[in-house]
Symmetry: C2
């Protein structure tokens, strides 16, 4: 079960040390395959080894099985807070929503996460790991919205939880599913935020 304490006490090194290159190659290959659309079910140690240019034994020497490897690979993506916030709620939201797409960090993340969800829903264990990745990102948006409500930039009776989903949902759907052929996912953060700020009702201001 235990993944890989990496550097534990590290006093002894009796034989040939493990290659860090190999570690990275395995993790990276795993994420690559997921990002390319390989479902968790289909994902195999063999395909990972092949993609990483590594023997299967090398993987089994580090992880007991696919689940453990997957867990560690996902943990890699747990970036804390990717973007800094500015001063206006609108700009902050746009910045945060932009990261739903081609994030500043790992560009594979947005491809991977949604495809993972069906699988995660079945395992309490995996769902935890998944939540650990998702929740911090949601919190960023939540905080910005609350700030807006507090300082009057947003309406006082705003349903924050609902609004979060209305902000993120469309962009997620577009990025991952290419839901609508005519929309440019890169422009959507600004468009969605502006649409929600103004509302779709007839102009009042």
């Amino acid at each position: 079960m235990d993944p890989m304490p990496a550097v534990e006490e590290a006093p002894r090194a009796p034989g040939r040390p493990r290659s860090l290159r190999v570690d990275e190659a395995i993790i990276s290959a795993t994420l690559d395959l997921l990002a390319e659309g390989t479902s968790v079910e289909v994902l195999s140690i063999e395909s990972i080894a092949s993609r990483a240019g590594v023997g299967k034994a090398t993987i089994y020497r580090r992880w007991p099985g696919k689940d453990a490897l997957l867990h560690d690979a996902l943990a890699t993506l747990k970036s804390p807070g990717p973007e800094l916030a500015g001063e206006s709620v609108r700009d902050d939201l746009i910045a945060l929503l932009g990261q739903v797409g081609p994030s500043t960090q790992d560009p594979r993340l947005p491809q991977i996460l949604p495809c993972l969800l069906p699988h995660m829903s079945r395992s309490k264990e995996h769902y935890r790991a998944y939540q650990d990745i998702i929740e911090p990102r949601r919190n960023r948006v939540r905080e910005v919205l609350r700030r807006g409500v507090a300082n009057g930039e947003l309406r006082a009776d705003l349903d924050v939880e609902l609004t979060m989903t209305v902000l993120i949902g469309p962009i997620l759907v577009q990025r991952v599913l290419r839901w609508h052929p005519d929309l440019d996912a890169d422009k959507m953060p600004a468009q969605v935020v502006d649409l929600l700020m103004a509302g779709m009702g007839p102009a009042q201001s």
Copy 2:
């Protein structure tokens, strides 16, 4: 390639006729498996036969392979227009968005479609079939929005295509991915529509 003209000329019936029950069982088993999360890649004739309580030969007698069967199974879901429209844009939108979820028709549809998309994106052939199912539904929403713009219920400069995605995206994400644990997907249509009508900016009316 040709799936099953069902009733073609139908003058001859030399032997025992094919059971309609069996047709339904096969199609239904296919959709069930998909709805349960079986990806298209993993889906096998063998599993379908087993689920349907049918011999594999019976399936191969009707369809040349998995693709053809899948195509026909999806065609089953092509319901034309499930709901009737009322008089207010708000109510019509809520009605249409409600069908994104537990549709009046086949409850498996919302589970199936999104999981299919990755696979569909790879095959021009399948993508067509997929579009045939999706597009009519999108059109319903599009028409309601245009009507609203025309009669002044919605702002004149509304980006209809964007708005469609902002309406559908959150509900889709919630229903399929259970994106947000605290939201009730059944109530979301009304909530989303109202939020978008009012906007999240400070109250102006």
